[in-house]
Amino acid sequence: MGSNSSNMNHIPDGQQLLQDTGFSAAQIIRLYERFEFLDKDNTGHLRPEDLETVPDLDMNPIGARIIGAFFPPGKETLDFGSFVRILAHFLPADSNRTRAGAQQEPANSTTGKLRFAFQLYDQDRDGKISRDELLQVLRSMLGLQVTEEQLQCIAERAIQEADADKDDAISFDEFRKSLEKVDIDHKMSIRFLR
């Protein structure tokens, strides 16, 4: 929208983000306001502590992992561009406008969303979900009445179901295959305010 793009001038990489992600100008402006709100000391960067102040995120069983997804290993700060690009994973896939110069697959495609979910499991980024990683996630999502033995069984079964090449771990392709019947786009999308 023409009138809004003038407001985008003070947003770093505003035009670039408009092109790369699927967000509209209004959405990017809103996200920028949110970014500024979270950035309490106005450094222009977010740190993990800033994200932890979000209420209800601490009630989320995988809250820490979600925050971790914004900060890949080695990066301690998050600038606005990365913030938006990660959030772009959650756009509904049908909001893909034809963008000139869309080179690789857009972040909000099914593969992109699956990759995000995969990385929530795969904390050491070796491309596979090992049994331990699966166990950790299961443990955090299940109530405390579940015994360790039950957890082990569940993890065991999950790996058995998905593991095609018998390496006792779930690779990304196996992950994707196990979820082929699920409407990923519906499950991993957020309706952003216009």
């Binding site: 989320n60 039950q150 999950a158 979820l179 305010l193």
Partner: protein
Amino acid sequence: MSIRCRFHMEYLVFIVLLILLHGSRGEVPTRPISAVTILPPVKPDDGPQAFPNADKANLPVFTMDYPRIQIPFEITLWVLLASFAKIGFHVYHKITIWVPESCLLISIGLIVGGIMFSVHEEPPAVLSSNVFFLYMLPPIVLDSGYFMPTRPFFENIGTVLWFAVVGTLWNSIGIGMSLFAICQIEAFGVQDINLQENLLFATIISAVDPVAVLSVFEDVSVNEQLYIVVFGECLFNDAVTVVLYNMFNFVAEMPVVEPVDVFLGVARFFVVGLGGMGFGVLFGFVAAFTTRFTSRVREIEPLFIFMYSYLAYLVAELFAISSIMAIVTCALTMKYYVEENVSQRSCTTIRHVVKMLGSISETLIFFFLGVVTITTEHEWNWGYILFTLLFAFIWRGLGVLVLTQIINPFRTIPFNMKDQFGLAYGGLRGAISFALVFTLPDNIGRKQLFVTATIAIILFTVFLQGISIRPLIEYINVRRTNRNLDTINVEVHCRLMEHTIAGIEDLCGQWSHFYWKDKFMKFNNRILRRILIRDNRAESSIVALYKKLELQNAMEILDTVTGDISAAPSIVSLYRGNKVAAKPKKKFKAADLKNMHDILSKNMYKIRQRTVAFTGKHALPNDSQTKEILIRRHASIRRSLRPGSFQTTVVPKSHKYFSLPAGKSLDSKFPPGRLSYTGETLKPLLTPQHLMSPFDFTLIWQKTSFLLHLDTTSPFKTK
């Protein structure tokens, strides 16, 4: 804790009964139809009854004085009867799934009413307006207000007010006008009802009733948004109804309506609505302030909650402003501060008693609705009543449709068609309409007709819509695929994705309301908390909640020590068979799979929002999920603070007091060697797989209070 709690409950029930007694004794029936059964109590002669006459020769060994105890006795019997009915329903569980409790209670009431009618006995004048509005309605509204989830409520406040105010207006005027049009038709013989009376009647029956709606909605898992909007609408349309009712009542007696009266009506609406809220907030703050000083008199702390909220209600009634809004806002305001000030036990007592009173009131209301239906005189008019039903339905549906179209653009999560259907169909009328119709002045010629029509509508909506809403919603909802066809993988991953979405949404924030909430929180922290809360330390939510929960947790662990040891047999066999973790290729039988699915579905944490089956109106809110998550998180925070002094899995492993290690019996004593004070706070409490005998309780208890010294804040004060 149980003795104290019982004492509180008896105390409060006693007060309630006293109030009821006093009220019904002084009751003057407003309607000539059903007379009061309550005979004026026989004045006892001077001196105890055992010695009535000085000239009687013998000492009476056994006397009976029924009239003296008649009123409290009858009240108690009625309450017990209604409660037995309630117990009875739950014996056969399947019934309550399909038929909401309100319907069942009304049916029982109808039966009892039939019995009384055939014996030519009059029912007690319980549903006269005074008793209803002053004694039976406040506990229910207090219950609803106290347990209202505040955050979703405030996020949806615009929608709620929109539906409550504009929706009720739309309904009243629409139904009134259409009925007036119908009245013009000669065939129905109701030409003598003029426009004002029609509007008055329409106002009465367009009041959506919180009691009826909530008791139906609890059985149907609706999503949180819908629940909040319907809930809020019920509570707040009281303001509109009161204004309209008084206005039309007043106007019905006036020959001519002038524009200035309409203007005054609007002004009155604001007075009523805002006044109600204002009083509620005022009393809430006063209550919070009072509890700041009650640390020495813990026993009467719950009393303040009830007295202040009731006072708010009565004062609002005094000024004829919306008392329901007053009590709801009072409870909302009060809850936040009071729960910080009062002791743990008082907190529990308050919650229990609020639930209990609300439950009793609701049961009684529906019960008496049934009873009085049989015993009042009816005037039936096919045309009028059927058209009333029709119009009520149509106008509500239209209203919801139009209003959602207008408000959807402003909502973060717009209402889809299913939600709209739920909103429209869930507009049940109930006892409020009933009580209102009885307060109609007698100079309205067709009052009997109105009464009958109101009863007809209430029964229709409660029975038909109440029973059918569940299958309809299930039919309309696209249900998930049958769980057993999902693999474990899919289930786990889907839940992970749902949590992710919830987390990201939190991260992005609820944008539209954020600004005000933020401002309010700043104001709250700076000013309000300092005045109203006793030990005000600016704590992070985790720390404050953790302390409280840890205490509760400790109590609960020890409570459930002798609890359910019965692990499913197949799990035990799995345990024995799976000792070596690196065992390749276990074969999983179908029974094991089913167990796993059951475990997952029961134990996976629910998402914060989405389709939430509410724990139910009659159950206390369940915050064990929050507890566990917070405990884990705090454990991991502490772990990161002190690397190396913890074992790898502190918390999760240790709660498993359900699994008996092989060879141990129930009475294995808690090995004292495990207690250590330095650093490992959670370990002694949550000893891995050793069960504690109750004798260790005191030992643990002392250690707990010492151990909850958190290194980041000031020492924990035992309450």
